[in-house]
């Protein structure tokens, strides 16, 4: 049933008893045209675009837990596209363009809110890097502008621009089209739309092995719910990419780190935008529920524990309290961690692997949420055609051999 004014009114009179389940919960079939491993936002988006744009409806998405329960449900929902390199800016801008029409496309309110993302500069180096980003973005057709501290304060009145603090604000880069969206709604919207087009979303079904035929090509997956045959597998497993790829004997240039976030008690609207500071590892926005959503940095060490160290969160809160003195007496309600897959150049890997029929979409590190629609869109193209989408072409696994890295470390070393 579509979400429409008429249906909402009709259901209001029927005590909302007539809404059907939002997606099917099918048993796995014996074979599929393609299998996506991982039902996070990127995996579900991939399945949706496979069905919608490439006519591949006989697709399954396998999920070892529940859909959207990994990094999709754990991130701080920031959306922006002001990356330095042309390749990255093009990819993230593609995603941002899709965000703008996503609620209409999916008939599901993903609550995309272009409230502006402001990235602070605290020293001369930050200013030089920030302005370089602004100029590079404007040449690439991506909106990004430079603000003085007073202009930054006008855009975000909570901000402390005093000169005598430890890390004074000396400027800021603002992308007005950046903002936030509701992370769960993105997973649910893609799941609902993909399921409606015939995609099987199979939860509580962990891939345990990847089968290959005599030629070495992919022939299926073993799962906790039995073997499934397929010629094409797309691995979209975020922090567990190395684990899944090891099932096919492929080593990855990826390491998995804990990344944590926390939210405050809910309060009235006070924070009109997203503010990020890469230099002091802090970013903050306010959810529609009223909680201040705060992102911390990654821990130093490799871990799959989905738990970060308290000193990392503490470090972030020190910075937040200095930048926004008004929040000093607020209580934090929850703190949680995810596992992020980080590449050496902080750019994703989207494309083919040395194993025929095996595709991978990973390495989004600390900032994959913003790319969800674009990532799924270009990865679906790559799986369906067997050749990378033009926007995904630079993001090959082979770049680590050829040396053609896409170095976004300056843009996204910690806060993405």
């Amino acid at each position: 049933m579509r979400f429409s004014f008429a249906n909402v009114a009709l259901q209001a009179f029927a005590h909302n008893s007539g809404w059907p389940e939002q997606w099917r919960n099918p048993e796995p079939k014996a074979a599929y045209e393609a299998i996506i491993v991982g039902a996070g936002g990127h995996g579900l988006a991939t399945a949706y675009y496979l069905a919608k744009e490439h006519g591949l409806a006989n697709v399954a998405v396998l999920e070892k837990g529940w859909l959207g329960g990994g990094n999709t449900g754990r991130n701080t929902t920031i959306i922006r596209s002001n990356y330095l390199m042309e390749e990255s800016a093009a990819l993230y801008e593609h995603a941002l363009n899709l965000w703008e029409g996503l609620s209409q496309e999916l008939n599901y309110n993903v609550m995309y809110s272009p409230r502006g993302v402001m990235m602070l500069a605290h020293n001369t180096h930050d200013v030089q890097v920030g302005k370089r980003h602004v100029h590079a973005n404007r040449l690439a057709g991506v909106d990004n502008e430079w603000l003085t501290p007073d202009e930054a304060k006008a855009f975000c009145p909570l901000l402390n621009i005093a000169r005598d603090i430890r890390y004074p604000v000396v400027g800021a880069a603002l992308q007005r089209r950046g903002g936030t969206a509701r992370h769960d709604a993105v997973a649910w919207g893609y799941a609902r739309a993909a399921s409606a087009r015939g995609v099987d979303i199979i939860q509580n079904c962990e891939a345990t092995a990847i089968r290959r035929d005599a030629s070495g090509a992919v022939s299926g997956v073993e799962t906790t719910r039995g073997p499934i045959a397929t010629k094409r597998i797309g691995v979209v497993a975020a922090g567990h990419t190395s684990v899944v790829m090891a099932m096919a004997g492929v080593r990855m240039p990826v390491e998995s780190y804990p990344l944590q976030a926390l939210v405050s008690e809910p309060v009235k609207p006070m924070m009109p935008c997203v503010v990020m500071s890469n230099t002091i590892h802090a970013y903050m926005s306010q959810s529609d529920k009223g909680e201040l959503v705060i992102g911390a940095g990654t821990d130093a060490y490799i871990s799959y524990s989905q738990t970060g160290g308290l000193h990392i969160a503490n470090h972030t809160l020190e910075a937040i309290c200095e930048l926004f003195p008004t929040v000093r007496r607020m209580r934090m309600l929850r703190n949680w961690g995810g596992v992020v897959d980080v590449t050496p150049d902080r750019s994703p890997i989207i494309g083919k692997t040395p194993v025929p029929g095996l595709f991978v979409n990973c390495g989004w590190g600390t900032g994959g949420f913003k790319a969800t629609p674009g990532s799924g869109h270009v990865f679906a193209h790559t799986i369906a055609r067997g050749e990378p989408h033009p926007l995904a072409a630079p993001f090959t696994l082979d770049r680590f051999r050829s040396g053609r890295l896409i170095d976004e470390a300056a843009a996204a070393a910690v806060a993405h």
Binding site: H240, S242, R251, M252, A300, Y301, I302, H311
Partner: protein, 101 residues
């Protein structure tokens, strides 16, 4: 925060005294010019990143200042063993896999 036993100091100290050194037992090739692109990429960028026992390096920066190795379960963060730089892995596992398929 991890509580890390330093094998030189012989005592446990909080993680903030240490700096992380990444995966252990990755020796710089003696003659990089002799390597193929695949071998060089494997040395520079490809890591085992296991969910399970990982051999990793730590440096007791705000203590004795020395590098050592550590076996840690990355699923639970439990530290299984620490051993001095130059010593073999105490669990006898292969030190490092070669390039992939």
């Amino acid at each position: 925060m991890l509580l890390i036993p330093c094998p030189y100091c012989g005592m446990e100290r909080p993680e903030i005294e240490f700096r992380y050194g990444g995966e252990a037992h990755i020796a710089r090739p003696a003659d990089p010019n002799a390597l193929s692109d695949d071998e060089w990429a494997n040395f520079l960028y490809f890591r085992s990143n296991p969910k399970g026992v990982l051999a990793e390096r730590w440096r007791h920066t705000f203590g004795c200042g020395r590098f050592f190795n550590c076996l840690r379960d990355t699923a639970s963060d439990k530290i299984l063993a620490v051993y001095k730089a130059g010593e073999a892995r105490p669990d006898g596992a292969a030190e490092r896999a070669g390039p992939s398929a």
